[in-house]
Symmetry: D2
């Protein structure tokens, strides 16, 4: 897996969220183990791809999600949605495109698009809503320094 650096002229640099946040993209390949007997990627796999996208988003913002957890904060998934548009097959190369739609001290919303790398055909789109909890499992607020990094 490789994160594709967004060049300044790249179309995927254009913010799709009203100028709030630029999208980031990361490439992945459909695994054999992600297919099911219909011969296409199983519906649950997309939620794993969304997660790979979130991870990459935080890394590119210089605040790896791993470090957020090590600081004692967890972005638990409160809602997850996916709309499946075009089946994906074993060995297809996909682009996971991620936008941070909303971030407050207690909540984050990410949106996603899954595109085929070959011709950028939309294969799926979705979102996840996250709430912030601490190590005891209590809802809490992200400290300002983490928030600023993610918003940067």
């Amino acid at each position: 897996m490789k994160s594709s650096a967004n060049s300044a002229s790249s179309p995927n640099k254009e913010p799709s969220n009203g100028g709030k946040e630029p999208a980031i993209e990361i490439e992945a390949r459909v695994r054999y183990s992600e297919t099911d007997q219909m011969g296409v990627a199983h519906n649950k796999s997309y939620f794993e791809w969304f997660e790979i996208g979130r991870t990459e988003y935080c890394r590119q913002k210089k605040f790896p999600y791993k470090d957020i957890e090590q600081s004692g904060f967890f972005l638990v998934v409160a809602e997850a949605f996916c709309r499946y548009k075009k089946p994906l097959r074993y060995d297809d190369i996909i682009l996971i495109r991620v936008v941070l739609e909303e971030i407050t001290p207690k909540k984050a919303v990410f949106s996603y698009e899954i595109l085929t790398k070959e011709d950028r055909t939309p294969a799926a789109s979705g979102y996840t809503v996250h709430v912030v909890i601490n190590a005891k499992g209590e809802v809490c607020a992200l400290p300002a320094e983490i928030l600023e990094k993610i918003r940067a």
Copy 2:
């Protein structure tokens, strides 16, 4: 896995969908492999549980999903949504509650609730929207005899 037959007096027999369709329930246990490093069931696992619920729903309607596919029809997932309410842990026994909200020749909508078995605490709820395709991957209509069985 065991499908719990709904007895007539059982509270879980009460339709939660305005009398359209009764709910069915099936029991499962959270697997170790379904947990993640947060110590709770991973968000993708719920979509596998929804699928187990759909499978059981079709079986109880005397039309196992396996037989639908063998007849040449596939209910592909077009949308999937889950709202996570309470974390679930390794070895928890859950009830997967399924309602067929809508069925037309070309579309089906299932809704789900995940409850703890111990005290029927709601742990999650969600839905999936399905479209009917044939073996060539073309959108098509379910034959009347399959529709009638599922609606029965």
Copy 3:
């Protein structure tokens, strides 16, 4: 999921390990999400079934694996092997048969057989080797009271 109690006359009560330990069995159904595009259960799924079997083994020994971890001990997998004999398909009911082959304060070996429920055809067999670690990740010894329960 339901553990099938072994009745005294049942053939699966006969110890397959020289009288050391009786086998336990638990039933499961092949999930749609466990199949791959070959139309059969994916090779990784068997290792999840082995784990379900271990979990049930410890439960029947009155020492749920969950409680072992809560006591601060972890049986990490050091080796895992599976021989695949007969493909399994979506919705097949399987029996996971588990024998504790060896248990010392620092090591445990479980062996497994996956059988079809319908006619007890062997579908796979395998084993896992475990070492005991504490919460710091250090190799350690299981306390006598846990060992005795598991051996009982």
Copy 4:
């Protein structure tokens, strides 16, 4: 299973298996969804990584596994083994190193090493044995032209 340090001039091309076949390597990152409540990658994930390695092996041999299946041949897994040496954590970058140990018209054996990218620490090793079947599920022989490509 042998591994050789990669020399600066030909990183992953040096044969590590007595001249039979050179090893190939592919990079991956441990997904959050691949961890379990012990905080490390779950034992089943390694078998998915082995599969990613096999896929890449065939691609580098100019015979993508996808094309083998489209030719009507399937390399089903007959045996799978993994020895776990060092736990892997979320977001770790790993190298999957693959050697084709044996290939005959009816059988293939791949061996694998999982290394940390950071310092090439061995994290796991294993192998898979495959038999060749046709679309009807019958054991058969790979045609010479496929064999030659894979052996090349």
